[in-house]
């Protein structure tokens, strides 16, 4: 393999990795606030892409994306308020099954609203054939858009969690919910906020990748599996680790094509998921001791 090919594969890997990382971060935010995995996370990505693609017919691209993100955030908030908020000390298993149910409802609703076809936003700059060439390595400008926007999102999240009051309150909730409540933090609101945040992040992710990958009513499931793998690989709850793990998985997948048919690409991610769960469930960057203290 020459250097040109090497970098071309890196580019492909980073493209996949960005998408996985976005979904994984969504998982992590809700995990931190509630201790559960929201299996409807992939559906937020799908909703973002679908709503933006529908709206882009009526309004300019940036406002369509903004509107799609806001609508998806509202949907996220409603889901939490209707299905989760009123439960009194629900078990982890119960919550997980609820989120699986929600994901099925969203998928069926999307099938009803948009039908079975694929949708995509137009490319943000240029068209589907616009190419940026760096030496002999070629990439679509959309790759830069998606990695750029994801990077901004990760930085923004870090600032939010470290330097704002709601961000700190959310972190307090994730460390110890009862102690946070004793300090006067409304933990229920924090859970709602975590759904809003992760819905928004998922939706924005769906918008930036939809020109490249398309979205359709059932795109969410596959994304959720990959995102979950990445979240586990990085260590549940750690968003920066999710980015690193996402890139790692994406690059592994793109290089895997040299050794086996790409139809088995998913085998890699599933093997990694199973391997991690057996060997080091706390993830590559997680602490095993901290993981032992969690319910899930």
């Amino acid at each position: 393999m020459n250097t040109q090919l090497f970098f071309q594969y890196i580019v492909a890997g980073v493209t996949y990795g960005t998408i996985y990382a976005i979904v994984a971060i969504g998982f992590n935010i809700i995990y931190n606030a509630t201790g559960i995995i929201n299996f409807a996370q992939g559906e937020f990505v799908m909703l973002g892409g679908m709503i933006a693609a529908s709206l882009s017919g009526f309004m300019p691209l940036p406002s369509a994306i903004l509107a799609a993100v806001i609508i998806t955030m509202i949907i996220g908030a409603l889901i939490e308020m209707i299905f989760i908020r009123w439960l009194d000390r629900p078990s982890v298993l119960r919550l997980i099954i609820i989120t699986i149910g929600i994901s099925i409802i969203i998928r069926e609703a999307a099938l009803f609203i948009w039908g079975e076809g694929v949708k995509a936003l137009p490319y943000f700059t240029g068209t589907s054939v616009t190419v940026i060439s760096i030496g002999d390595v070629h990439l679509s400008p959309q790759v830069l858009w998606s990695t750029g926007i994801s990077a901004i999102m990760v930085i923004g999240l870090n600032l939010f969690f470290n330097y704002t009051l709601p961000g700190r309150q959310m972190r307090a909730c994730s460390s110890n919910r009862n102690a946070a409540r004793l300090c006067g933090i409304n933990t229920k609101n924090m859970v709602t906020l975590s759904f809003i945040l992760s819905a928004g992040i998922g939706a924005l992710g769906g918008c930036v990748v939809s020109p490249m990958t398309y979205v359709q009513y059932d795109s969410g499931t596959g994304l959720a599996i990959k995102g979950f793998t990445v979240a586990i690989l990085g260590g549940l709850g750690n968003s920066m680790a999710a980015v690193a793990a996402g890139m790692l998985l994406g690059i592994l997948e793109s290089f895997s094509i040299w050794i086996m048919p790409t139809a088995y690409k998913d085998v890699i991610s599933i093997s990694i998921l199973l391997g991690m769960l057996f060997i080091k469930p706390s993830g590559l960057f997680g602490s095993a001791e901290a993981a032992r203290l969690k319910d899930f």
Binding site: T15, M212, I257, W258
Partner: protein, 393 residues
């Protein structure tokens, strides 16, 4: 009291369920197993719509010989497992007269034997040659054979003086069957396969695959799939700077794929039936009237562009209807009638069935098409088009 009411309700339900077929006694039940949702929805959805439209039209005119058609559409989501259970259900419980579909080759191959054992006519809307080769007594298919499509593409490549092909296919029944034909026929047409990659049918990014194909020194890409991935292949190939022509299978015959790929679809070459290029057909073409009527009816009713896939469902149903009109509703007689039907003008071509050929279409049912300004057009004389793929650069 409550339990009495419950029992009464159940009894009523049971009665209602068992009673309903009584009303439907004088109908011809036709089942359809189509991938209306899922990865083959660009095939299954227009097929289901076409059947609904035609059945409505036939019933409005009083049905076939006074018997109305009762259409039962089952959405398999392109899953072979579901197709199997639906096929059993349609044959054993609904006791249908015939089954139209499935939309995909993988599903059809799985239920070929079920139809055969159930002595039920199966009019497949899928492309793989394996469906009718070897011939199964009750199994027919209306789309053109994939081996013809492969030969058409190879001939086109030869006329463009291209010999090195990079082959991509999806891991669906259609993709596997096409890949098999390409491998089988390449040598005798002087085509060298320099790369041969199979990708997942639900793939959303194929940059790594096309990179490998490009690195292999392929002069042209041949892609064989029916999923939206075939739009992604074109986009990714152009994005990594592949400049040669891209060939697609006859599974590309839905303008939605072109819309999804945008500018990257320009110059893609693929074989297809004439439905997509009615306007450029001469008046003398025997198919023109059939095609024009179907296109007009479909587009007026559903407000979307017609596709070759809906056409396959059209052919399946109309062949069946024509045979029933002629010999009545005896399954065996209808089967024999279809097997000997000659000169049926359908959307896919002129069908001439025989006991050895349950497809009935010849190589000339294909036309080489290309994409220009987002529309399908007939590919003009090949010499000029050598740079078809790069025109948009």
């Amino acid at each position: 009291m409550k339990s009495v009411r419950f029992v009464a309700a159940v009894l009523f339900l049971v009665f209602a369920l068992s009673a309903s077929p009584v009303f439907a006694k004088d109908t011809i039940k036709i089942g359809a197993i189509l991938g209306v949702t899922g990865p083959a929805s660009f095939l299954g959805a227009p097929e289901a719509k076409t059947l609904e439209m035609l059945v409505e039209e036939i019933n409005k005119k009083g049905g076939i010989k006074g018997k109305k058609i009762e259409l039962i559409v089952k959405d398999s989501g392109a899953s072979p497992e579901k197709a199997i259970s639906f096929a059993k259900q349609l044959i054993e419980e609904d006791k249908v007269f015939a089954i139209i579909g499935p939309s995909t080759s993988g599903e059809t191959m799985k239920i070929k034997n079920i139809a055969e054992e159930g002595k039920t006519i199966l009019m497949s809307c899928a492309a793989a040659e394996a469906i009718v080769n070897p011939v199964a007594k009750y199994v027919f298919k209306t789309p053109q054979k994939d081996s013809y499509a492969v030969v058409k593409i190879f001939e086109q490549m030869k006329s463009m003086k291209l010999t090195k092909a990079g082959v991509l296919s999806s891991n669906s029944g259609f993709g596997n069957a096409g890949k098999g034909q390409i491998e089988k026929l390449a040598a005798e047409h002087g085509i060298q396969i320099v790369a041969n990659e199979v990708y997942d049918k639900a793939a959303t990014d194929l940059t790594a695959e096309v990179t490998k194909v490009k690195a292999s020194g392929a002069e042209a890409i041949i892609n064989w799939s029916i999923e939206p991935a075939q739009s992604i292949v074109i986009k990714n190939a152009r994005q990594i700077g592949f400049k040669g022509p891209i060939f697609q299978s006859h599974g590309f015959g839905n303008i939605e794929y072109v819309k999804a790929a945008g500018d990257a679809a320009e110059g893609v070459i693929f074989p297809a039936g004439r439905l997509l290029v009615i306007d450029s057909l001469p008046k003398s073409n025997p198919q023109k009237a059939v095609l024009a009527k179907y296109k007009k009816d479909y587009e007026a009713k559903f407000k979307e562009d017609v596709s070759t896939f809906g056409g396959h469902a059209y052919d399946s149903l109309m062949i069946l209807v024509k045979a029933i009109e002629k010999v009545g509703t005896d399954k065996e007689k209808v089967r024999t009638e279809i097997e000997h039907m000659k000169g049926f003008v359908g959307t896919g071509g002129i069908f001439n069935f025989s006991p050895e050929d349950h497809n009935g279409l010849a190589m000339d049912s294909f036309e080489m098409l290309t994409v220009k300004s987002g529309k399908f057009i007939v590919l003009q004389s090949s010499a000029k088009k050598k740079d078809a793929g790069t025109k948009k650069k």
